[in-house]
């Protein structure tokens, strides 16, 4: 999947001047415990961040779409508290951590943007947390699909009310805190009720407003666009 990028992204990438790396699906950008990995801008493809528990349970924290910045989140010194893995073929622009620190010291505007970016990530995490903690599962799933659709639309990567959607139901389940069997049932119901179909790698929202309504979806975090 080759992704167009917006002018903001190109600007950010230019600033970074890192090399570009290419990944296969299911590849690891960095793993939990990694002692200080690099930073990335996802150039094309999808990825996600996650944490594991000892017995293999996995929680997906966030899906990364083209243009997203990866690896700023963690403690900037010290090991990563989460891993990042690709979903599809992907390419990412790398730049070194120490370079960041230097950049920040010389460019207050950049540090402001970095703060903005972190704050934005936090907002997504908060929304996700509230969803898992307090939403009914159907709402939860609906919100996730809508969030992804809107994020894709902002990047001009949607066509009408459809967009590419390479995630498996297992991804969804691990993001939503559910069993994948249950996600299948939920999707069936959404399909039968005429809201959504997922087919050959595309998400189709047949009734965007209806889904927004039944999901109690609130795009408070999405109306504000990332600057970087």
């Amino acid at each position: 999947m080759i992704a167009p990028v917006t002018s903001e992204e190109i600007k950010a990438i230019g600033r970074a001047r890192g090399e570009v790396r290419y990944y296969r699906p299911h590849a690891t950008l960095y793993y939990e415990g990694d002692p200080g990995s690099d930073l990335f801008t996802l150039f094309s493809g999808w990825a996600f961040s996650f944490q594991m528990l000892r017995d293999g349970r996995r929680q997906i924290l966030r899906f990364m779409l083209p243009g997203d910045v990866i690896g700023v989140q963690p403690d900037l010194v010290g090991p990563m508290d989460h891993g990042v893995e690709t979903v599809t073929d992907a390419s990412a622009c790398v730049f070194r951590r120490d370079a960041l620190r230097e950049l920040l010291a010389h460019d207050p505007e950049l540090s402001w943007q970095l703060v903005w970016l972190l704050a934005h990530d936090q907002a997504l995490l908060r929304e996700h947390l509230t969803g898992i903690g307090r939403r009914h599962v159907t709402e939860r799933l609906g919100c996730l699909l809508l969030e992804i659709y809107h994020r894709m639309a902002r990047r001009d990567m949607a066509e009408g009310t459809s967009c590419p959607f390479p995630l498996t139901q297992t991804h969804l389940a691990d993001a939503l805190g559910l069993a994948s069997a249950h996600v299948s049932r939920l999707l069936r119901r959404l399909r039968e009720d005429g809201y959504v179909t997922i087919k050959s790698g595309w998400l189709h929202l047949h009734d965007l407003d209806g889904l927004t309504e039944i999901s109690q979806f609130d795009d408070r975090t999405l109306t504000r666009r990332p600057m970087l």
Copy 2:
């Protein structure tokens, strides 16, 4: 409750030079939708941040203990995506948002620290998210109690394996994504099994190691101390 503060906190507060405000329990520092509130350093007392759904369901995102910084998280321009409310009597040092922006421009070191702080908050959120999404409820509760205990201990506000604990079971329930009746049952079991008692505003951990074990508690996020 009057709280001692560590030297780091005093330094941070000095830098901010804001006025100090005093709050009663159950008071609002800012509310969801607040168009750009101020920033705070919690000086004494406990508070928490939360989001509400339309039908009244509440998710507690994070508990704030003395010394914690409040309100940096959100989008630094634009309305707050969450509210903050006190649990106990509390006092907080305020400083204005625009002052922050100016400070950042002139002090790269400070912006570095701010980034650190945001990253640390994110780590807490991630841990919380994984807990709610993928942990069994007993583990979840255990982890929350341990997290709070450790955070208190770091502030020298614990005595042995006990610490002040002003939260109600409803607070715990809303943080963990549970019903409060169920929290009561879980706590009874932890008490009967000799792990924990909560009594007259204090948390007593009778078997810290045991609880850490059965909760699969991992203090990866806590071993790194906040610098600000």
